[in-house]
């Protein structure tokens, strides 16, 4: 047989082995990996660390996470694992009919992460104190109980997790307490469940962890109506048109599948997308939103920030600070959770929004921080 042909073949092998190094050296574009992860630091070399072998281990670990074409290799492996063996990341659950869940959503639905009732009661008492104080400053407080995929898609929870063995959840506790104290709140969890059977469009997607992009036009519309009813003012309305159906999800609608990082697995669902527009009529309120990732969907797909004034802020997990100005929401930095924004009483509205798994820290630390700032103590309002 032709030696030249064999030499070419072996050259291909060598080039294949060098390909990642070539990609890294020349920065050849490649797709990134989805999901949040901490990058590995490149280790600093010293005689000591070389001699005891720690530098070599750290460098090998660093190389393991940074070599070229690594995203492709991970995607190939995850594609095989998911499609052949139905395997997902730890922290994720593959439910019936291929519904993907984050484990935390199932645990919170089942009440496994429930905080003691007294703790929840204490939080709501503090919130009521804060609300009373803010009212004196003409600032309104509004709590949002966002839906959770564990509740909305409970019928797809796998049997081995025993969805029938449900305990009281944080959601039920907070719902009860908010009702009792008369604090203004919107229960989107209950509302989504109420319209679940009659909705002709997906309110939750098979592969997403958040409410669907489509559903957010209900969310923003309902929210603006609630806010306007609390103030008695009117500053505009939402309209929606130009609905489109697609087999390809937009960003966020299959975020769980995205972080599985496969070669591209489709759910077969039909996604609906709609153009949402806010029509301002009057002075827009300056709003401070403190919430979790559920807020992003109304921001990205529900034109939420179009209905608020410049200077409004979004504190993502009460940690990342985003400020709205001239039609743009930009990150301005980060803050400690224990820090309260200096101009907190300068907002017209303060909205706290959490989905079920995050209700164990309802308010993302804002309630504790602001209450401490106001009272100088952690004691209950009744003890002040």
């Amino acid at each position: 047989m032709n030696i030249r042909f064999k030499n070419i073949l072996f050259t291909i092998v060598i080039i294949g082995l060098f390909a990642p190094l070539i990609q890294q050296t020349f920065n050849i574009p490649q797709p990134g990996l989805k999901g949040s992860y901490l990058p590995t630091e490149k280790p600093v070399l010293s005689w000591g660390s070389w001699f005891d072998g720690s530098w070599q281990q750290q460098y090998s670990d660093y190389y393991e996470t940074t070599f070229g074409f690594r995203p492709w290799l991970i995607k190939i492996k995850n594609h095989i694992e998911f499609n052949l063996f139905r395997k997902v990341h730890s922290g994720m659950i593959l439910g019936k009919e291929d519904y993907l869940f984050e484990r935390a959503y199932i645990d919170s639905y089942l009440g496994k992460d429930r905080i003691p009732f007294d703790s929840a009661k204490f939080q709501v008492e503090k919130l009521a104190y804060i609300e009373k104080h803010l009212l004196q400053k003409n600032t309104l407080l509004l709590a949002i109980l966002a839906p959770g995929k564990g509740s909305f898609c409970a019928q797809y929870i796998p049997d081995n997790l025993h969805p029938e063995n449900r305990n009281i959840s944080n959601y039920y506790q907070y719902r009860l307490l908010l009702e009792r104290t008369g604090l203004p709140f919107v229960d989107f969890n209950n509302w989504f469940l109420a319209i679940k059977d009659t909705s002709t469009r997906l309110l939750y997607t098979k592969f997403g962890v958040h409410w669907s992009a489509y559903s957010t036009h209900y969310v923003t519309d309902s929210l603006i109506r609630k806010m306007q009813s609390l103030t008695g003012n009117y500053w505009g309305y939402y309209s929606s048109n130009n609905e489109k159906q697609s087999k390809t999800p937009k960003e966020g609608d299959d975020d769980l599948m995205e972080i599985l990082n496969t070669m591209g697995t489709r759910s077969g669902d039909t996604y609906s997308y709609i153009d949402i527009k806010f029509h301002p009529k009057g002075k827009l309120p300056k709003v401070l939103i403190i919430g979790d990732s559920y807020v992003w969907t109304p921001i990205n797909h529900g034109a939420l920030m179009s209905s608020v004034a410049d200077g409004s802020q979004y504190l993502y997990y009460n940690h990342d600070v985003y400020t709205y100005s001239e039609g743009q929401l930009n990150q301005k930095g980060i803050k400690e959770k224990s820090a309260v924004p200096e101009d907190v009483e300068g907002f017209d509205f303060i909205i706290l929004c959490n989905t079920e798994p995050n209700l164990k820290e309802f308010g993302s630390g804002f309630i504790d921080a602001y209450y401490k700032k106001l009272t100088g103590t952690d004691k209950a309002p009744s003890q002040l």
């Binding site: 064999k6 072996f10 060598i14 070599q56 975020d255 959770k337």
Partner: protein, 473 residues
Amino acid sequence: MVFSSSFFILLFLPLFLVSYYITPSRYKNYVILAGSSLFYIWGAPKFIFVLFGSIVLDFYLAKFIYNAPQLRKKWYLILSVSLNTGILLYFKYANFFVENINDILQSMGYKQIGWIQVALPIGISFFTFHELSYIIDVYRGVKPPLKKITDYAVYILLFPQLVAGPIIRFSEIADQIQDRKNQLNVDSALLGFFRFAIGLTKKVLIANTLGAEADRLFGLQAEDLTFATSWLGAIAYTFQIYFDFSGYSDMAIGLARMMGFVFPENFNNPYISQNITEFWRRWHMSLSRWMRDYLYISLGGNRVSTARLYFNLWIVFLISGFWHGAEWTFIIWGAYHGLFLVLERLFLDKLLLHTTKVIRMLYAFFVVVIGWVFFRANDLPHALLFLERMFTVDLSSFYFTLDFRILCFLVLAFIFCFMAGFSRIEKFESDVFTFRNTKTAVTSYIVVGLLLTIISLGYITSSSFNPFIYFRF
């Protein structure tokens, strides 16, 4: 550095191979020396001096042995063997001996010996055996000593076999160290790469998957360990250790082939053996050969009384077990296999001849699986607990759902382990690994090899990637 890492496959290996191939023949050994030294230093920088020191020592001792009169030859041999085994005993077994002595002292009410744990140099079991092989082969006149210390260093440091074997006797490789032009060609390179890819796949896909399951089952608390889970754990480990070890050997043989070295085979479908004697002709063959040539024959081999022969066999296996690790469980494993070897010679083989091939294979597999429980268990009480569960029949314990992925790999492992029990398939397997000189065959080797390498790399690198959907603070 391990072969089954992205760092080795995508950085060290291509850089080494290119350096090796472009270097003129007379300097290739220096490239091997540099690459192998870097390979060892990367994992164990402190111990390279132990290795270099023993290389220098043994090289000159071998020269003295070769040139010395007969009586002094023996003394030099004794000196070298003592030094090498002394180094091995110290680094690998000192902790074990001191711990056991301290246990005895404590039980007798005496004060324990103060001792700082000794760290174990990587690969010491293997390079010590290589050094002993060199010295003994020179002493026996099988091969003259190498003229250049750098050539001897190549034999000891050669990275494909440095840290995990196969154990290459000096006589098997002596000529290749100095001249391997006939083996260093593109055919060897292609076959070597294919062999490496096969080994990588065996290790990463099959062994690691079943190993994780074995770890889980061997880690169960006593109250959770049942008849079913103990057997599942034992069988998972049985397959894990085969695919792990044989996979690593395949990678070593493949790497060596790419460099022009032809290593002897280390495994030959051991689980199709029909008795334990045959098992040891198929399992870790390089160790068996070493033990036979340098220990068993030194003890008298077959030229002793029957009782002495059986005793020698048992001792060799006891030492084999001890060589694997400084734990009582390894010693018991070795003694257990030695016992069955003796029993087979005594009467078991004659008995088994009256049965079928399948029964004999089941017998051998059963004995081996039980032996692996000792090998894998954390300690002797753990091994005994595991065995106790394995022999406490409880069919209701099978009522559990086996993970589909584990089941697939168990079935795959079973097929690959036992299919060679059929002579036609054994021949086919042999054909696959014999280089066929057609365009289709060669292209197939490379395409399959590259695909397997890519998939294996995916599994290697994914183990460190488990992202959150969003950060939570």
